[in-house]
Amino acid sequence: MSIDFSPLWISIKTASTATVLVFLLGIAAAWLLTGYRGKLKGLIDSILTLPLVLPPTVVGFFLLVLLGRNSPIGQLLNSLGTQIIFSWSATVVAASVVAFPLMYKTARGAFEQIDINIINAARTLGVPEWKIFWKITIPLAWPGIAAGTVLAFARALGEFGATLMVAGNIPGKTQTIPVAIFFEAEGGETGRAFVWVILIFIISLVVMTLMNYWTEYQRKNMPSVWRN
């Protein structure tokens, strides 16, 4: 049984890139919404969380409509001689959209747990906002941010439905492990499907476990962050 290992590299590359994107966007969204006091807060939060509860096929459908050849974005990219749909970037877009709410929700929970007086104390001392963010907000929210990152990575790695719809199943290009599992099983190649299942199982388990131990290590060595 010969196996083409390209889905492994594609999956890891996709999940890692998506995690970096989601890490930055999720924290930014969480921070902006924590400080926002307007009436639209509930609506914006719902929209940002929606990919978590919608079926991935619905997300995939939206992305097709948004980025497809006939959409404004698709036409713009086309005129530049490129496209997103059915390319590797499509796997990243699909994984990012689906993983985003996990990062955003956990980061926002972590920001909201910070005692506002600590932030206010820094303000009265004359510390600029950007410095408060980097030196106080991020370190205090770090356990939550780290947890969100791992969840987002795991979700991105396991993404299937939306990926299939917007990126398709192009071996060596867009075929990730979950997509490979589906087509191997469909084609009766249970043995190969099983190899991929074991592999993704191990990767997920290892990443989550490492994160747990790392969090525990930090809890012991940076206790100040957890005890206020």
Binding site: T124, L125, G126, P128, N228
Partner: protein, 355 residues
């Protein structure tokens, strides 16, 4: 050095509407919880925005609704000591003090941190994190941190409420020592009468978001001008009162006629006396001596409050006229005496209130 505050802010349940001046004499804002004390401080520091008004510190306009000025907290130069100290939990003591000094050259910054550490008796704790400090130490760090940026005003929001009772008295003394070196405007908020008296020179009494009375602390404690001020400074006994003559009034709720030391104002509304100013009388030959009967008692470890009914035997424990506070020893001598007892409401100790 002067802070001028005149602000209005609508809040759920009441409207904050305060106006006062503070200088280098420590000003105490005394009020019951929910009177708007903390909100006032937060408005001064720029952590909340008043609806209307003006805040001026040493001729710098911090807030002026008419001119559309509202300086952000970081530009107000106002130090704020939070109830829970709000230290940065992820930083050591020296980093807490030094965070806001990072624009200053390194050597100079270290010198300032060092000086604040010595001044606030924090030597040896430089590398500790806030969770490794006692309540008193945390407070000293918070104060050192606030004073390190040389604020023009220092606001203290109930700084002792998070401390254990046995530490409080000691820490108040420490705070007074530290504050004696500070030459800016100081405003201190509390609902605790004893703290207010020990720490402030002048008092502003707040009730329901309004300034009820202001003056030196001695005036506020010995001659509170309003009922709310009298209650907040610890007076327990009040009766509605009517003018009868230039030195006498009729205490309606107590059903007695009282002689008072000064001239009685025709507009007098209330008369009051502190619970521990009531004395046992030996005979009826002095002013304001009345028969009384104990209704119930309430014991604290060393003090006891006896609820008294004047001129009649009360059946209901809520049916009392006066609260009389005394030491346990005094109570031991008193309790087996034959009824009715004779008490004296010394004319010198009675206060009259016009509104």
């Amino acid at each position: 050095m002067e802070l001028y505050v005149d602000i209005k802010k609508k809040l759920p349940g009441f409207t904050l509407d305060v106006n006062f001046k503070a200088s280098t004499d420590v000003l105490g804002l005394l009020g019951a919880s929910g009177a708007g004390k903390s909100m006032t401080l937060r408005c001064i520091a720029g952590l909340e925005k008043p609806d209307k008004g003006r805040i001026v510190l040493n001729e710098r306009i911090l807030f002026d609704s008419e001119q559309g000025i509202n300086l952000p907290s970081r530009r107000r130069k106002i130090g704020f000591l939070f109830q829970n100290y709000a230290l940065f939990p992820n930083m050591t003591v020296e980093d807490n003090i030094g965070l806001a000094l990072e624009t200053i050259p390194r050597e100079q910054r270290r010198a300032i941190i060092r000086q604040k550490i010595v001044m606030n008796k924090l030597e040896g704790l430089e590398k500790r994190y806030p969770f490794q400090l006692s309540g008193g130490q945390q407070q000293r760090v918070a104060l050192a941190r606030a004073l390190a940026v040389e604020p023009e005003a220092l606001l203290l929001d109930e700084p002792f409420s998070a401390l254990d009772e046995h530490l409080r008295s000691h820490i108040i003394k420490e705070l007074l020592d530290s504050l004696s070196d500070y030459h800016g405007v100081t405003v201190f908020v509390t609902h605790n009468i004893e703290e207010a008296y020990r720490i402030s020179r002048k008092l502003v009494v707040l009730a329901d978001g309004k300034v009820e009375a202001e003056g030196t602390k001695e005036e506020m404690f010995m001659k509170p001008p309003t009922l709310a001020a009298a209650q907040l400074t610890g007076y327990k006994n009040f009766s509605a009162a009517n003018y009868t003559s230039s030195h006498e009034l009729n205490a309606v709720d107590w059903g007695v006629s009282l002689r008072v030391a000064g001239e009685v104002d025709q507009e007098v509304r209330q008369v009051g006396i502190r619970a521990h100013f009531i004395k046992l009388a030996s005979g009826t030959d002095t002013d304001n001596v009345f028969q009384c009967w104990p209704v119930s008692t309430s014991e604290a470890p060393f003090r006891i409050t006896v609820y008294l009914s004047l001129t009649k035997m009360a059946l209901n424990p809520d049916d009392y006229h006066l609260q009389w506070e005394m030491s346990q020893e005094r109570w031991m001598e008193l309790k087996d005496r034959q009824l009715p007892w004779l008490i004296c409401l010394n004319p010198e100790k009675l206060i009259t209130i016009l509104k």
